[in-house]
Each structure stands twice: as structure tokens, then as C-alpha cells.
């Protein structure tokens, strides 16, 4: 075989995993190489199962999983090139960030000096250098997430798998972690990051994988997938004291093709073009002189995207 053929970092071929009667992953095939890829799906979609398959913690009932061309269930050598941040993984709270990362570096076979030096660097990279000598038990949630990322990076992996790294973080910590993830992608590393919040992933990457009920639902560029959503009616929910007056004002506007009154004091506008609808919205509201207290886009979330994709 020619050496020119590059083996993808992650190759999943027709993989299925069942837990008794429960389907974890059902006939999923993926090949991922380079950059940041978001793994999206609601709770129970199979994201963690996919990651566990990748990490060799479970074996697929059918199909195969390969990391750098090697089955991780059979051979742990790919883990030299992988950094993994588990969603549920707890830390050694009595250790300082520096000791923790350094200790785990030694599990990769680094010497003490190498481990200490490398730990300092990755802690600096994730913004924990100043608090590296503080016990992890005293870290905030965002700092704990970052120290998890630091320990996953300490051996300079080529593939980084992050299971819900933004879960429970405050906005500043989220921004910090997102910056770290983006930077890793820019460095040419393959980064898989899971989340059930579309907006979080959207800020990190355009490349996404959507899972639902263990099946691969969509794969590719986030905007291309969103285009699928735009072919379905979008809803804009307006809370106002005069919904009927406002509805009259909207009728006849180009992007609006229907209105509804789902409950008292609410007006639902239906459109095929969300952007165009939002561009006419301010003008129509101002011209109608109706007081508006709230505007929502109930469709603008992952659940709606999934709903449309499932419903075809």
C-alpha cells in the first residue's frame, strides 16, 4: 500500500454498541482528521458511548473503531497520541494543579523534570499558571475543567477528545476554554468536542457531527446543516399586549407566510427565511406602535434542528 494514503486519526466503520436492550450507538461511520469537530446531540444521543468506543473502554458489538489505524480495544499504544477529557472524571482534589498534571505526565513515561516543565507549560496555556500551586479542591468549576484539559495536553497529543468540556462553566471560563480549543485546532491537531448546546459548538468550529438515539444524523459544515433547518418553517414568538394588531402589521410582509396566536398575549410568526424576517421585524414593530415585551426564537436550538432532521 502506498505511504501517501494517510490514515485518519479517527475511523469508525459501521460501529454499533448495545447495552442490553438500550442502543448506545447504531451503525455509525465516521472518518475525522485535523481541526476541531463538534459532536452534537441531546442527552442520551450516544456522544459518550462514541467517546468510550474511541477510548477503548467498550468494544463495539458490530463494526470497528480505529485510532491512527489501530483498534484501541486491542492495543493501548494510540493513547500515547491521545488526550482525553472525560465528562464525569473527578480529579485528585488534594493535589495542586502542578502536581496533578505532572503526576499524570509521568504516566506517559516522562522523567520528573520533563513532567514538571511540561506541566508548567500546559497550565500556562490554559491560563492556570498563576494558580498552579493551589489545591485542585479549591479550584472553581471552570478552573477544574481547564486543569482537565491541561492534563490531556501534557503529552502533546495529536488527537484530543473533550467530553462536554464547557459543562457547568461560567461565561468567562467558557470563553477561555473555547479559545484553547480553537487554538489547538489551529495548531493542526484533531480535536473532538462534544456538547448538547449548538451555540457553544458554533463558536468553536464549523465542522459538526450530530447524533441522535445512537444514530448519525448529520455530518459536515454547520451552516450547510443549518440550511436544512431553513428549508423548514421558523417560528418567532413575540410577547405583546396587542398580538392581533401586530399580526395585521406583519401580514403582507415578504418573508412572513403565516401568523398564529398560541396563547393570550403571544404572537407566533412563521417564516421560511429567519434572517429576512428579523430584518423586517424592527421596522414593522415600530410602525405598528405596539408595545413588545419579549421576542424569542423557539426554533433556534439544537432540539429544533434535530426535530426537523428526524421528521425529514
Amino acid at each position: 500500500m502506498s505511504d501517501d494514503i494517510k490514515v485518519p486519526s479517527v475511523l469508525v466503520e459501521n460501529a454499533s454498541k448495545w447495552y442490553g436492550q438500550v442502543i448506545g450507538i447504531n451503525d455509525v461511520s465516521l472518518a475525522i482528521e485535523g481541526g476541531v469537530t463538534g459532536i452534537l446531540g441531546p442527552n442520551g444521543a450516544g456522544k459518550s458511548t462514541l467517546f468510550k468506543l474511541l477510548m477503548g473502554r467498550i468494544k463495539p458489538n458490530q463494526g470497528s473503531v480505529k485510532l491512527f489505524g489501530i483498534d484501541p480495544w486491542e492495543d493501548t499504544s494510540p493513547y500515547r497520541r491521545i488526550g482525553y477529557v472525560s465528562e464525569s472524571e473527578r480529579l485528585y482534589d488534594w493535589m495542586t494543579g502542578q502536581d496533578f498534571v505532572s503526576t499524570l505526565a509521568r504516566l506517559h513515561g516522562m522523567t520528573r523534570n520533563e513532567a514538571d516543565s511540561r506541566a508548567e507549560h500546559v497550565l500556562e496555556f490554559v491560563g492556570l499558571y498563576d494558580v498552579r500551586h493551589k489545591e485542585i479542591g479549591k479550584y472553581s468549576k471552570g478552573m477544574r475543567q481547564r486543569v482537565k484539559i491541561a492534563h490531556a495536553l501534557v503529552h502533546d497529543p495529536d488527537l484530543i477528545i473533550l467530553d462536554e468540556p464547557l459543562h457547568g462553566c461560567d461565561p468567562i471560563a467558557r470563553t477561555s476554554i473555547m479559545n484553547v480549543i480553537k487554538e489547538l485546532g489551529n495548531q493542526g491537531k484533531t480535536v473532538l468536542v462534544s456538547s448538547h448546546i449548538l451555540e457553544e459548538i458554533e463558536r468553536i468550529t464549523e465542522q459538526i457531527v450530530i447524533l441522535h438515539n445512537g444514530r448519525l444524523l448529520a455530518l459536515g459544515n454547520i451552516y450547510a446543516i443549518r440550511d436544512l433547518l431553513d428549508k423548514h418553517p421558523h417560528r418567532i414568538m413575540i410577547t405583546t399586549e396587542e398580538p392581533r394588531k401586530l399580526a395585521n402589521a406583519f401580514i403582507g410582509e415578504e418573508p412572513i407566510y403565516g401568523v398564529r396566536f398560541p396563547e393570550e398575549g403571544k404572537l407566533e410568526i412563521q417564516t421560511n427565511d429567519l434572517s429576512a424576517a428579523h430584518s423586517v421585524l424592527p421596522r414593522v414593530i415600530v410602525e405598528s406602535e405596539v408595545k413588545v415585551s419579549r421576542i424569542d426564537n423557539p426554533d433556534d436550538n439544537l432540539e429544533s434542528l434535530l426535530e426537523y432532521l428526524i421528521g425529514g
Binding site: G24, R57, M95, D99, N179, E183
Partner: protein, 337 residues
């Protein structure tokens, strides 16, 4: 508010101004409009690749081993043992080497050979057996408590906290993980049990100024005792770690270990007293070891049943424990969370 603070071109400000209908709408061009706020430059990202070489398998395994063993002395970068556990282990160690102090004082005061102190603490068959396998205080108080304290949490903490993921997401196999946990427990137990035994024998010779003749006479007995102490460490480690791998609670493994050691002994004792048969002692790990030890050191046997039954029982106990341990470690992280 100055114009540069307002995102006049951005959609958000205009939307808020347009949709706001309450009094004081003019104030709504507020803070959210500042575009820079969403950029979020919190710190510098400067990632430097690492171009060093990874050490071989034994270096990785040594890292696991030292994490657990060195933790007894310092929590810095190592496993965190409760100070009470450290103190108890120290007390047990001091208790285990207490005969050395008696021998030291007897040598200072020039006690008579074959006198009371020599009989009680000097090197002979009974005392060599007793240093490892004596029931009180060693196998009633010291060794079971020591094992319970060391194995409690050794694997169960990983199972409960998910910290086994820390190992299994690295090039550490389950075999390495199990072996290093086993070795760590065995080394700690061995340090207290075997090392105190060796120290006792060596210092007894030194303090009493014994010569080569004494050494030649007693060395086979010492080696027999050494073999028994190794067997004891292996057996207690196997049972203790198997129990630690079963549960998510460190207390379960500790209490279960003590229950097995004391419970089987108590039941066998009651049956022995009632029916005058020692056969049920084959269920007691301690008694199997004691039986074997008595035979190895040439002491009069306290048990009426065949030695081979105790030996077979001992082998089975270890095998079953190791099978349970392997099976439970194999299932770590494998089940659906």
C-alpha cells in the same frame, strides 16, 4: 454614553432599542452593545509542542506504583492517605518491631541466656512463627487492620470517582493497572510484615552477639518464616484488593476484609469447640496460613485436619480473589454510566 461604546452597526443594539417598549427605553442601548465584550481575550494562548521521548512501560508502571506507595509519606503528587491511616500504620509497625526493643534492653542489662526475655522474644521456632503468624496481637489486631486500611479505596475509590479513566486514557493496560495496584499493596504490607520480621531476626543476632553457628542453626527456620510471611502478604493482598474492586466504598472493602478474617475464624472456632473438629478452619485464611506455618517451622500442629486441605484452601482463596479482581478491573469504565 459616547458613541464608540455603542454598537450602532450591530444588530443587537438596534433590536433592543426597537423592541423595548417600557419607559426609559432610551437607556437601553446599554452594556450588551459593546462588541469587544464578546471577543473575550482572557489570556494568551501559546502552545508549544513537546518533542521529547516517552519512557518505556516500566517507567509508566513505576509512576503508578510510586503514586500509591510514596503517598504513605507525602501526599505531594501521590495518593492521599488520611493522617489517621498513616499514624495507625506507624503504630502497627512500631508494634511489630517491639520485640526488638525487648532484645535491645535485655542485651543492655545482660539478661541470662535462655531466660524469660530470651524465651519470650528471642529467636526460636515459636517466636519466628509468632512474629508473622501469632494470633495476638499480630493477626488479631495488626495485619488485618493494616490490610484493611491500605486496600480500602485502592480500587474502590477509582470505581466511585471515575479516576480509573485517568489511567485508562493513557497507555496503561488493565494488566499494568492491576499489577501495580497489587504490587503497591503488597509492598506496603511487606514493608510492615516482612521487613519487621527480617529486622527482628537480624537485630536479635546483632544484639545478642550470636555467631555463625547460631546463624546456620536458625537460618532455615528464618527462611521458612519468611516464606510464610510472603504467603501471608500475598493472601491478604489478594483478598483485600478483590474486595476493593467489588465495591465503590472504601469502607466496604475494609470492613468486608476484617469480617472475612475474623468471621471465618470465629465460626471455625465455635464449630471446633462444639464438635471438636478443626475442618472448618480451612475457610479461615489466617488458620490456613498458621497451619502451613506451623508445619514449615516444625512446630506442633494445632489443627487436626490434613495440612493439604489448608494448602489447597489457601491456593483456592488466592485464585478466586485474583479472578474476582481481574474480572472487576476488566469491567471498570466498561459499563454504561
Amino acid at each position: 454614553m459616547s458613541e464608540d461604546l455603542i454598537d450602532l452597526d450591530g444588530g443587537q443594539t438596534r433590536m433592543e432599542a426597537a423592541y423595548g417598549s417600557d419607559d426609559g427605553d432610551e437607556d437601553l442601548f446599554a452594556i450588551t452593545a459593546k462588541r469587544e465584550a464578546s471577543v473575550g481575550a482572557i489570556f494568551e494562548q501559546n502552545y508549544r509542542p513537546w518533542d521529547g521521548d516517552f519512557g518505556p512501560r516500566w517507567v509508566r508502571n513505576y509512576a503508578i506504583f510510586r503514586h500509591h506507595v510514596f503517598g504513605l509519606f507525602s501526599s505531594k503528587g501521590h495518593r492521599n492517605y488520611n493522617p489517621f491511616i498513616r499514624l495507625t500504620i506507624l503504630v502497627i509497625f512500631i508494634g511489630a518491631i517491639s520485640p526488638i526493643a525487648m532484645l535491645f534492653f535485655s542485651s543492655l542489662f545482660g539478661a541470662e541466656p535462655d531466660g524469660f526475655i530470651d524465651k519470650m522474644w528471642g529467636v526460636n521456632r515459636s517466636n519466628l512463627w509468632g512474629q508473622v503468624l501469632g494470633y495476638f496481637p499480630r493477626n488479631l489486631c495488626y495485619w488485618p487492620l493494616l490490610t484493611a486500611l491500605v486496600v480500602g479505596g485502592m480500587i474502590s475509590d477509582d470505581r466511585r470517582n471515575g479516576t480509573s479513566a485517568i489511567y485508562f486514557s493513557r497507555p496503561v493496560t488493565r494488566v499494568d493497572y492491576t499489577m501495580m495496584k497489587y504490587l503497591s499493596v503488597a509492598v506496603v504490607l511487606g514493608f510492615v510484615i516482612i521487613f519487621s520480621y527480617m529486622l527482628y531476626y537480624t537485630l536479635a543476632i546483632v544484639f545478642k552477639g550470636e555467631g555463625w553457628g547460631f546463624l546456620i542453626d536458625t537460618l532455615p527456620m528464618f527462611l521458612a518464616g519468611l516464606l510464610c510471611s510472603i504467603l501471608l502478604v500475598i493472601t491478604y493482598t489478594s483478598i483485600g484488593l478483590a474486595l476493593s474492586s467489588i465495591s465503590q466504598s472504601r469502607f466496604f472493602s475494609a470492613i468486608a476484609f476484617l469480617s472475612i478474617i475474623y468471621g471465618t475464624k470465629l465460626v471455625a472456632l465455635l464449630i471446633d469447640l462444639q464438635f471438636e473438629t478443626s475442618i472448618l478452619y480451612i475457610l479461615s485464611p489466617y488458620d490456613c496460613l498458621a497451619h502451613f506455618g506451623q508445619w514449615m517451622l516444625g512446630l506442633e500442629l494445632n489443627y487436626s485436619h490434613s495440612l493439604s486441605l489448608s494448602v489447597v484452601s489457601l491456593i483456592l482463596m488466592n485464585l478466586v480473589s485474583i479472578l474476582v479482581l481481574v474480572s472487576r478491573v476488566s469491567s471498570l469504565e466498561v459499563t454504561r454510566e
